[in-house]
Structure formats: C-alpha cells, structure tokens
C-alpha cells in the first residue's frame, strides 16, 4: 500500500493512503485534538463528521473535521494539543 508523508504538530510521520487525518493523529499517539471553550482537552468522538470534536488545522485552514478528510503527501496537521 502506498504511504504518504506528513507532519503533525511539526513532527514527521508516514501513513497508508486512505487513512483519515483523525486516525493518523490518534495513531501518532496524540489524543488531544482541540481545547474546548473552557480549556478541557478533547479527542475525536463521533467518528462520522457530526460532533466537530476532532477538528484540527490542516495546511493553515482551521476547523477542519479530521475524521472526514484523508491524509495527503506533504500535509501539515496542527492540533491544539501542542500549544
């Protein structure tokens, strides 16, 4: 299976093509996708693009639902967890 190289919070990773960004973030060992409005750490939850808990910044675009987007070569993924 073809793999693609990308970065999560600046760290380099490789994942199989067809992996969702949410699965990639979790497989990288991260569980904190975003901080809630009162600052609690949140992770992916509904897995189907409804709850927005897994939102991250992809290539500079914020609020992307990571469970509905596939990894791509050179993608830059930024979670709130690294702030």
């Amino acid at each position: 299976m073809k793999s693609v190289g990308l970065t999560i919070d600046g760290e380099e990773f490789e994942f199989a093509e067809g992996t969702s960004v949410a699965a990639a973030v979790l497989n990288s060992g991260r569980h904190e996708f975003r901080r809630s409005v009162t600052g609690s750490a949140r992770s992916a939850f509904c897995g189907m693009g409804v709850c927005y808990e897994c939102r991250v910044t992809i290539d500079g675009v914020g609020m992307e639902k990571s469970c509905q987007i596939y990894v791509a070569q050179g993608m830059r993924i930024q979670t709130d967890g690294n702030y």
């Binding site: 299976m1 994942f15 199989a16 093509e17 067809g18 992996t19 969702s20 949410a22 699965a23 990639a24 979790l26 497989n27 569980h31 904190e32 809630s36 409005v37 009162t38 609690s40 750490a41 949140r42 992770s43 992916a44 939850f45 509904c46 897995g47 189907m48 693009g49 409804v50 709850c51 927005y52 808990e53 939102r55 675009v61 609020m63 469970c67 509905q68 987007i69 596939y70």
Partner: protein, 415 residues
Amino acid sequence: METIDTKVLVVGGGGAGMSAAAAASRDCRVTIVDDNPHYGGQIWRQGVSEKAPPEALELINKLENRSVGFAPGTTIVDSPEPKALIGSRAGKPTLFRFEKLVIATGARERFIPFPGWTKQGVYGAGGLQALVKAGLDVAGKRIIVAGTGPLLVAVAEYLQRKGAKVSFVAELAGKARLLRFGIGLVQYPSKFLKACSFALAPSSISIRTSSLVEEARGGRRVESIRLNRHGKIEEHECDILAIGYHLVPNLELPTLLGCDIGSEGAMVDSYQRTSVADVFAAGETTSIGGIELSCVEGQIAGYAATGNKESVKRLVSKRNKLRGFSRILKKTFEIDDRLKSSVKAETMVCRCEDVSYETLLEFDNWRDAKLQTRCGMGPCQGRICGPATEYLFDWSPDGVRPPLFPVRVKELGDL
C-alpha cells in the same frame, strides 16, 4: 460560484441514496452529494482497512456505469431558493440545481451525557468502528462496547477482528426484551437481520444485559468504567469505551426545506414523497429501520422521482413488510429513564459550548437555553446535545437555520 445542474439530486450516498440514484439514473441525469469522501454511508463505510460489501460494490458499479455524478466531501449548508442547494467542500461553495430532490441523509448515533463522556478514549460505538475503518489501530486495546442497539455486537466483533481485546458488550436492554427481538426477527430471514440479532447469531462476545455505564473514570483518558448491572455496581478497566444509544435520524435538511417531521423522522407517503413538492425522502431519515428497508425506500424514491409508477408498485409490499422490523427495533432499543440518574450537576451536556447539566436545569425549553447559554449553538449545531436534551429534559428542537454546518466568513461572501 460553480453550478451543477441535474435532473435528480440525491443528498446522501449510503444504501438509500445509492439505491435511489441507481433507480432514477435509468431515465435521466442524477447527481449524489455526500459529506463523506466515499460512497457507502455509515453502514457500508469504506476506508483504508475496509472494503465495501458485495451488495454495496454492485450498486457503486451501477452508478459508475450510468455516469451518475458524485460530489464527495461536500456538506449541504443552505437552500437559497426552491430547487437549489448550496454544498460546501474545503471552503468552496457549489450550487446544485435540480428538478427533483431525494433526501437520504441517514441517521447518526444518539449520545446521552454521563460523567466522563468527554474523556479521551471515549468514542461513539459506530464512531469507533468508522475510525478503525479509516485506519485507527486498536490492536491490543482493551475495549468495552456499551449503550443499546442492534449494531453493538457487530461493532464488538469487528473490533475483535482488528485485534482489539473486547471485554464485553454492555447492553441496556434486558434479556427478555432481546430474546423477543430475536424471535420477532424470524419472519425477516435475511443476512443483515441475522447479523444484528442477539438470539440468532452465536457470538464469541460476552454480552451483559440490563447494564448501563454510569461513569467513565480516569484522568484525561478513560481508565475504567462504573457499570450498573441489574442494580449491582461493578468497576471494569479499559483503554477505550465505545458507547452509543441507538440512532436518531438526520433531519436538518428536511427541516430546513420545510418538510413535515413526525415522531419517526421525515414524513413520507407511499411514493416516499415528503410534504414539500418534488422533495422525496428515503432511508433512516424517515425512520430507523436498517439497511434493507433503506435500500427499498431508496429504490421507490428513485423510481417515483422519475415517474416510474409501475416499479414503485412492485416494491410497496416489500417495504411495508420491512417496516415491521423498524417497529421491532424501536420497541427493543427504546431507552428508559435509567440513564437520567447517572448525569451529575457538572456533567457537560453541550460539548461545543461546555454547558453543564446544572446550567441547563434553570430553563424550561430548548430555545431559552440556547439563547441564554449557547447550548446547541456551537459547530455541531445541536446535533449531539439536541437529542440529549430531548431525552434529559423533554425539549423539542425549534427548527434549523442556515448554514446547517459552519462555513467560513470568506465563503459566506461567495454564497
């Protein structure tokens, strides 16, 4: 803005939507719009570690052979005028113009808040399965699958095949009810129905009935759960809790368009017509009834939308029979008041805006609560907390407003 003109527009590329498109495309140009990157919807979701089953692949081939248009990764956000919808993909809007519309937006999991449900490692049950299909590695993870619904055991078996150590399934429904469910299914002898039957399908998974998860414990991550089993309290360690309380129909689009909504979902007649002219609805957006019913309803909607009355007539009795299954499902997996007792004052009900149970207790309806606390006004637009407050407080939703999903300010300028 890019414009796509089509005779029949189908929103939703799951079983119902694909069946509708296949039926309609015999006669005319059809386009499917779906929020997901692939065809398949939830039940036939494809991903890096999952191929769609043969019956889904057959439909997909048919759609491809008939040149059905497909707009993946596209979320419908608004209807600017009759017979037009705006879809958004990666920050770019597209205008879809149609003569007939088939709404096949399916269902989502119902989530009922409980202490600890916002911890990392707590997922929806179908949600976790979707993540694993998309490549999440669960090998060696200790997982408890919980909630209620015919698909919990199927989820547990799937996770086990992917190398997870599934401790057990905690099912809210009691043994007697599940047994009746199994017996009721004998009259529906199909592969899918058997696969979701507790009584008929022997399983390597241990099922704890009359069991409810009262709390997910741990630090930031879930480490254990508190299980109420027939009133007896147990504590079980786990790495992941996958929990969902059956399904609720996705009604945002039919509501936006002004379709009448009943207690089961969007209301339709025997041609799958909604109360709005030229708008049809099929599948779980009309009632929770499983993949077979969804496909038959989709076919009917597709034929009806293209004036093929003869084909509709051939399918009506099949649909009516399968609707019996829908009624059995509802009876078996209805949730009772037990879940209300585990919610605590500080339990978050609205995850987007961090509104706690205690805060919401001051209000007597959804609208006031929304205006005063922003409950339901975050990015998910009440999709998670709406069904939760309906259960906890008996509040009914007060309609929807575009955009149905968040769009960027720049994009709003383009609309």
